[in-house]
Every structure is written in structure tokens, then in C-alpha cells.
Symmetry: C2
Subunit: 413 residues, 2 copies
């Protein structure tokens, strides 16, 4: 947690009501940070379904492996999350910590071990003793219901400068249901499944398999379309928990992915995940600019996204944006290096609505002054049309500043 809040942070934070069927608690477990909460426990009513997507890293953390296995049970009664230590690359000890923690949480919550879900974020490779959890879990579980979503979002922060929380109300059948999500991000953000950590809670009664299908689809254009620094985390975890509490108020139980009554919920979930993903970018380490990259006219959607990511991950593009320099030549470079079909002489590049280059060269009447004025904005849109086909892709990123280097030069010390 930084003393300075990102200039791209929202001007105010909502603090929604907890979702019905979810009871939150936070605590100071002293895992790494002093004088702040670093442990989140969410208890779920019996009958809560669960779905999740995780990092594609070949070196995933112990909690990621635990959750992948536990998901097979389709049922969740508690979520335990800590910040300050990722419990990644911690070998057998890491697996023991996960198992001991799940055991203690299951005992405290009165459920099965495999109904416990776990996530950890922070330093990689540092052993995380199970006692950090077992010593406090009974008390935290007893406190359940005392914390609100904003407290939960605060407890999972690492180098984040602001808590990320969002809530939507949407119709399911004739009943209002709630979807509330929290997320943390900052660095090591190039999700290939989800961002570092994000948890979504809803009172909608939705079968686990249906939930999983929706989540896997919604993640593509949201968390999987952001990058801060091209570095994919060992701990990326996005999970959704559906308590079904709204059924008591008449919400229909959804058992099929094709159920038309899900339409509004699907849209709201996608919107919520996209907004949370944007918040992660707006709190990218050292970020001063929020950047949208739109690629159109590619041979395919996959090709468009790869080109968009090549631009979004280019250190030279990102430092030029940090310097408010309308250096569109670097966009050309990043298109050229992507390894995807591109024809220099068909390329068009825009900053916002301003066409700066087309047909392989700078436009006639190009105004450096206008382009530079645009770059001074906080939110920047860069559009590239390849002129080859109908594939399009959109990703979001931030600039690369000296502060990013400073934050990451001495993260562990």
C-alpha cells in the first residue's frame, strides 16, 4: 500500500452492502505488513455455488493448485485470502500451509475442507507458516459479518494505492439480484486467465457449471484484455461465489447456460469485470495515464489482440506515453514486431479522433501541436487500422514511468 494514491484513482469509493448470504471479516494477521489488515475471510451460506479461472503460469502458487482441485466439488462455504506473501514456489511447505489452513477454516466454519477456497498475494518464494492463519482463524470466523466489501478490498491490497470494489443490481426473472466484486492488482499484471486476485459475490441462484461458463467467457474481454507490465503472475485468481439467497425473494434457480433470463446478469457481470479490470490498470504501478488500444482491420480477432498487446507491452510506446510524446513511429515499430500479418503501406494510426498516419506515412498537414496536446490527457485512445480484414481487438494498459522502476527496484526490502 502506497502513501500516494494513483492520480487515475476514482474520485470517490462506493462501499456497497455485503451480498446476502455472504459474511465478511478482516484481520491483522501480521503476515508481512504492520498496522493494516492483511487477511480476508468470506463465509458463504450452505448451497453456495462457485466458479473460477486461474493463471496459465507453468509455476502456479500452492493456493491456485488447491482451488483448481476444490472447484470440482462445485460448492463453497468459505474464502480465505491473505496479502503480503503469495505462497508461490514454496514447495512441499507451501502445500502443507494450504492444507493446514483449509483444515482450520473448515473446522471454524463447520464445513468440508474442499468447500474452502484460498488465495495469497505478495512476495514469491518466501515460506508462509500455517500458524499465521491457524492462530487467528477461529476469531476471524466468529467475527464474520463485521466487515464490508470495501474493508475486504483493502485487506487484499499489496502495492495497490486504492481499494477496488464495485456493485451492480440487475433483474433475474422478476427479482433484483446483486453482484459485488473486489480486485487487487498493481504489478505483475498480464493476466492470461484473470488478474492477480478478484472475487465476485452474488446472491443469484446459479448452478456452478452455468456460472463457470459465464465467467470463462466474460474474462476474455475484461481481465484478459489488460496489461500493466506484460508479466503474468503465478497467482492470478478470479472466482465468483453465488449464494442463491435471492431465491427466497423469488429469483429463479438457473440451471442451464442457455436460460434467457440470464441475459441481464451476463451483461452486468461482463460490465462489472471490465470495470474492475480498468481499476487495476488505473492503479498500475507508477501509472499516470490510462490507455485504450483498439486494433481493427486485422486478419482475425486473435491477430488483432496480439498486435494490440504488442503495442500495449512495448516499453518504448509506454515511456513515450509517460513523456506525453506523440511518438507514433513506435506504434509502427510495435505493429511490425508482433509477428502478425501487417502491411506497412495500409496502416492507419489515430490518437483519439486525430488521424496521424495512413498508407505507410505521416498524413499531409500533420500537426505535432495537436498530437502533443492530445497526449497531455489522462485517458488516451490509440487506434490502429491494419486494412487487411475484419478482425478487431481492444486492450487497456497504462504508461511506464520512473515510479514503476522505483516501486519494483526494492519491493522486497
Amino acid at each position: 500500500m502506497s502513501a500516494t494514491v494513483s492520480p487515475l484513482a476514482p474520485k470517490s469509493f462506493a462501499d456497497p452492502e455485503p451480498v446476502e448470504g455472504v459474511r465478511l471479516a478482516v484481520a491483522q494477521a501480521g503476515i508481512k505488513y504492520k498496522g493494516r489488515t492483511d487477511l480476508l475471510v468470506a463465509l458463504f451460506d450452505p448451497g453456495t455455488t462457485v466458479a473460477g479461472v486461474f493463471t496459465t503460469s507453468k509455476c502456479p502458487s500452492a493456493p491456485v493448485e488447491w482451488c483448481r482441485e476444490a472447484l470440482k466439488g462445485e460448492s463453497a462455504r468459505a474464502l480465505v485470502v491473505n496479502s503480503g506473501n503469495a505462497n508461490a514456489f514454496t514447495g512441499l511447505k507451501g502445500r502443507e500451509t494450504v492444507s493446514e489452513t483449509a483444515k482450520a477454516a473448515a473446522k471454524a466454519a463447520g464445513c468440508k475442507k474442499r468447500e474452502i477456497f484460498l488465495a495469497s498475494t505478495g512476495v514469491i518464494g518466501e515460506p508462509l507458516p500455517p500458524a499465521k492463519f491457524t492462530a487467528v482463524l477461529d476469531k476471524v470466523v466468529a467475527d464474520a459479518g463485521a466487515a464490508r466489501p470495501l474493508d475486504a478490498a483493502r485487506a487484499i491490497m499489496t502495492t495497490d494505492t486504492f481499494p477496488k470494489v464495485l456493485s451492480r443490481t440487475v433483474r433475474l426473472g422478476d427479482t433484483d439480484v446483486t453482484i459485488t466484486g473486489i480486485a487487487k492488482g498493481a504489478g505483475m499484471i498480464a493476466p492470461d486467465m484473470a488478474t492477480m486476485l478478484s472475487f465476485v459475490f452474488t446472491d443469484a441462484p446459479i448452478k456452478a457449471q452455468v456460472l463457470q461458463g459465464m465467467l470463462s467467457k466474460a474474462v476474455k474481454g475484461s481481465f484478459n484484455a489488460i496489461t500493466v507490465d506484460s508479466d503474468t503472475s503465478t497467482s492470478d485468481t478470479l472466482m465468483i461465489f453465488a449464494t442463491g439467497a435471492a431465491a427466497k425473494r423469488g429469483a429463479p434457480k438457473i440451471k442451464e447456460a442457455s436460460d434467457r433470463r440470464l441475459a441481464a446478469f451476463k451483461k452486468a457481470l461482463k460490465g462489472l469485470l471490465t470495470d474492475l479490470a480498468h481499476q487495476v490498470v488505473r492503479d498500475g504501478e507508477g501509472a499516470r495515464k490510462f490507455v485504450q488500444i483498439d486494433v481493427t482491420g486485422a486478419k482475425s480477432a486473435a491477430s488483432a489482440k496480439r498486435i494490440a498487446l504488442s503495442i500495449a507491452n512495448s516499453p518504448l510506446v509506454k515511456t513515450a506515453i509517460a513523456g506525453e510524446d506523440a511518438n507514433w513511429g513506435r506504434i509502427v515499430m510495435a505493429v511490425g514486431k508482433a509477428g502478425e500479418p501487417a502491411d506497412r503501406d495500409r496502416l492507419a494510426i489515430r490518437f483519439g479522433d486525430l488521424l496521424v498516419a495512413e498508407k505507410g506515412e505521416r498524413v499531409a498537414g500533420y500537426s505535432e501541436e495537436e498530437a502533443s496536446a492530445y497526449m497531455k490527457r489522462e485517458d488516451i485512445v490509440i487506434s490502429v487500422d491494419l486494412g487487411l480484414g475484419r478482425g478487431k481487438g481492444r486492450v487497456w494498459t497504462c504508461d511506464l514511468t520512473k515510479e514503476y522502476v522505483a516501486i519494483n527496484g526494492d519491493y522486497r526490502s
Copy 2:
């Protein structure tokens, strides 16, 4: 050209004799820089053969396209290089500039247009009027022979802080021949063929096709194994010119790639290219550390190199090195995100000779003090053994510092 020389620069610069059959000249053409040379012309004796490798960018510069075509003639009489403007993404105008420059150079040198080779380095997208060359070429060609290799290396610098030049003498048959190379680099360095610009001259009499085979092979473990910032340039050009002047002193004419008399020359060429590539890394923008990444035990050599590049290009690994932080967890992350076969529980990581992690966790008796002491060195070796197979790969890179961001935040202004 920066006022501050990289701390990784060689302590002294050799200034070798020009290669027999090559006459160098430099001039101040005022293309972008004031008060320094920015134009290099090399004239070659009749009979000079040539080979080259170029960027794989889909948006190559006009000079790269020209050279690719001219190489088919296998004969070179002059090389014209400018710094300050890359003549890339300059459309039809860029091609006209290249054609006009080649025409003027051919007239001045008394040769065919396709015996002229061209390279440009600097800003992308800025038109480069042919008059910048045509106005001065007659005079520069008349001056040929007045400049030395160190002058040539200086004339092609952009954000480089020191000139890169190297010379070797090697036996060909019973005769000593010379190989002298110059290079420029600094930023936008992730060659997928060659670095930004490097030119090698030799008096050895070697047929163009043989030269091409040797160059294409030697580039793999040298220029194609370095990265400063993962950004591949539109202008990467590496060319070798063989004047054959040593034939008069008895050097055998080499017409077959399999000629055993080439062995020493091949080895020397590979060594020279590797050393020049290292110099490029040592002058990476903002670099304070020279880093070698060794990956062993991979499924294949290609897999090992991709993992090595994933580590070398990771902003989080590079900023940790800048901060002298022994953050080996980020090495795990970079291995995990590479998309190549890897097994967390077989991974071993070393800093120099110091084993820090193996079998999926930190080693027993790990000493943060020892690891931190190692990170304070200027030259750092990071070794990763995957424990899966026999594939190995080696790449070189530098750290990512605030100076990189500062240099690239306002490069054009």
C-alpha cells in the same frame, strides 16, 4: 549521444587501422544533430562481396528494403549510413530518398546503383529529404580514406553513449586477414535478425554466398541473443563487406562454405559479433548492469531460448536487478509465463555460483546476505535449470532503470 557515458562502457577504445580495400569518410550532414558527424560513407575496392541480415519487422524501413534487393547482386562498392532519422514509415517519399541517394552515391563512386548499400537510424516517421545526402556526397566521397573505424562508429551513434568498434586478425590459409566491425544500439533492441546497425569489413577474399551462410549462422548466438527492451527495430541491419584485398598477399579465395581454411575466420567472426552485441547491451539505454541469462535442461534449444528471453524481457526481473534485489521469485514468474514446458518442482535457480532455489522452493540455508552481495556486481549471471531435457540457451540483457524511462520519455523533443 549522451553527455554521460555508460558505466558499463569499456575503459578504453581501440582505434584499429581501416581494413585494406575499404576507405572511410564521415561528415556533418545536419540531418538532426548539430555539431557532430551524422553521415558515414565507406568505399570498397572493385570485387568486394557482401552479405547481410535484416529485421523481421513487418514494417521495415526504406533502406532495409533497398539493401535486401541490392544484395542479390552480391557486389558492393559503397555503404552510406546516416544517424538522426531512420527513414522508416516514410512512404513513397522514403523510397525516393533511398533511390536518389543511391544514384548520387553511384555517380560519385563510379559504380552501379545496386552496388550502393544504405542504412538509416533515428526517429521513425519523419521525412528525410534526399538533398541531405545529395548536397554533400561528392565531397564526402572525395574525402574517402580520411576517417578511421572509430570515427565511423561515432558517426552512426544515436542515444549510444560510446562508439562500438572491434578488430581481429586471423589466419586464412597462410595469410593474416583482418575483420573489423562497428555497431550502434542503445534502445529498441530485441534483434530478430541483427541489431539496429552493425557493419563488418574484412580484406579476406570470400564469395558472397559463403559470406552470407557464415553471417546467418553467426548472428544466432550473438546479435540475435541480446535484448535491451524487447522492442524490435524497423531498421535492424547487419552487413559484412569482404574486399578480397588480402588475396594480393596470398590469402586463398574462398568459394565453398565447406572450405576448412575458413575455420579460424568463422570462429573469429562469431567472436567479433558476440563482443559487438555485448557492447550494445552494455550501452543499453540507462543500463547499469550487464546480465547473462543461461537456461539449461529445457525440452529443446528453441524452448530454452524463449524462456531465457522471457526472463531477460521481464520488466519485473529487470527492475529488481536495477534495485540490486535478489528477487528470484520473479525468475520463477518469468519461467512460468513463457508458455514453454516447465515443471515448478524441478526448477533450480542460481545467481553466479550461488544456488538459491531448487525442487520448487528456496534452498535450505539460503542466505539473503550472500544473494544481495552478488546482486551488487556490475556483471551478473543468472542460471536456470529446468531439469526436463538437454536444450540450452543463452541471452544477454541489461537492467531497467529510471534513466531508460527518462531517455525514452522525450526522445523526439
